[in-house]
């Protein structure tokens, strides 16, 4: 009886350790993915790291309940995406509250890349760097203007060289759906960016 109890406890402890090891492996494997998903929404490194960290903490708490562990990455991506959107909304609300105060005080015009802009002034960037940043800014605006479903497909396809099949697995949608969404997303992006270029030229 005593031996059996010992064996049972031993096996449970082993299962616990295996679970920890498995989570650690998945953390190492998916941390960059979670960060990039969060960054694609927030476009701020610190915020994205915070959100990804929070997503991992949440994933850790629920890891035992996850029946199909092979779906971890998909689960993490969706969770991170949702959390990042929540953070973005919260940031916008906060900015909306703070904006009148800052403008009245003549401090600065609120911009998401405020910190970056200050850094640029000190670095005195070359024309190429400025041009590249502007391009990136246009691209981000175009991505943000996409509907959420298309946006997520574009982001996941652009991260870590995911192919259609992998993106489909991450979003739990068929490959054909990914293909059509990606096509639509690229078309809309090109249209938007062309319009921006034309608008500036005129």
């Amino acid at each position: 009886m005593h031996e059996r109890a010992e064996r049972l406890v031993g096996s449970l402890v082993t299962a616990d350790r295996e679970l920890e090891r498995e989570f650690a492996a998945r953390l190492a494997d998916s941390s960059r993915l979670a960060f990039r998903v969060a960054f694609s929404v927030l476009r701020q490194r610190e915020d994205a790291e915070d959100v990804a960290q929070e997503a991992f903490a949440k994933a850790y708490r629920s890891f035992r309940q996850l029946r199909d562990r092979t779906r971890f990455r998909a689960w993490l991506v969706r969770m991170t995406w949702r959390m990042a959107l929540d953070r973005q909304r919260a940031n916008r609300r906060r900015l909306a509250r703070e904006l009148p105060v800052e403008v009245e005080a003549g401090l600065t015009w609120p911009d998401r890349s405020r910190g970056q802009a200050r850094l640029d002034l000190r670095e005195t960037p070359t024309a190429d760097v400025v041009a590249a940043r502007e391009r990136a800014e246009h691209l981000w605006r175009a991505i943000e203007a996409l509907p959420e479903k298309l946006r997520l497909v574009v982001v996941l396809a652009g991260i870590e060289g995911h192919d259609m099949h992998e993106v489909g697995a991450l979003l739990d949608v068929p490959e054909g759906t990914v293909k059509s969404r990606l096509f639509l997303a690229r078309k809309q992006l090109k249209e938007r960016l062309s319009w921006m270029v034309t608008d500036i030229r005129n």
């Binding site: 406890v9 490194r45 990804a52 960290q53 850790y60 246009h138 574009v154």
Partner: protein, 199 residues
């Protein structure tokens, strides 16, 4: 000013730009920070929520339930009592029938024994129960002779050998009281004592 002004917007360009925009790496502290956070979570949860201890908690709860169940089943005098009490109707008559009078109260010789103290739980039980079958009757302590005499009297009354009015005490009690005569007291006269007068 605009980067797209100098380059034609092809699929390849767009693809390259997307990869460049999304290919941002986290800071080197990112992974250690997550690990520290997870370790913190682990400590907060502690041993109490680990798989092995979850099983241990389940086992403890099951054992406790089993022990309570066995204990309750082994001691049948505990639980069903309340049910009996509520099921039986309350006693309406205050005068007990002759039969019960003959049998109760139990007459116990007092001898030198002191009356047994009634413990609190028993007293509570007596108060809460309303059936004569369940209520333990208090002992009436009288001497052996008195007990024997009372028994004889009760038996005789029951057999109609003795009329209650035959009992002298009762007859005396039922007889008319004598007239009260006024007591006449003579007035007290104060006189000096003989001895004191001579002095």
């Amino acid at each position: 000013m605009d980067g797209y002004r100098h380059q034609e917007l092809t699929d390849e360009t767009l693809e390259k730009d997307l990869e460049a925009a999304l290919g941002v790496d986290p800071s080197p502290e990112f992974l250690p920070r997550i690990r520290a956070r997870i370790a913190n979570e682990r400590m907060q949860e502690g041993w109490f929520s680990s798989v092995s201890w979850q099983w241990a908690r389940v086992a403890a709860v099951v054992t406790a339930v089993a022990v309570i169940a066995v204990w309750t089943l082994r001691d049948p005098s505990r639980a069903p009592r309340e049910a009996h009490i509520t099921d039986t109707p309350p006693v309406e008559s205050t005068t007990p029938p002759v039969d019960s009078v003959l049998r109760a109260p139990a007459l116990v010789a007092s001898s030198a024994e002191s009356p047994k103290p009634v413990s609190a739980p028993v007293a509570r039980a007596v108060r809460s129960t309303r059936t004569p079958a369940v209520v333990p009757r208090p002992e009436v302590l009288i001497s052996l002779d008195e007990a024997a005499a009372l028994r004889q009297l009760i038996v005789a009354v029951a057999a109609r050998q003795v009329q209650a009015t035959d009992i002298p005490q009762l007859a005396a009690e039922s007889a008319p009281l004598p007239m009260i005569e006024e007591i006449v007291l003579e007035p007290i006269k104060l006189r000096p004592l003989d001895g004191l007068e001579s002095e």
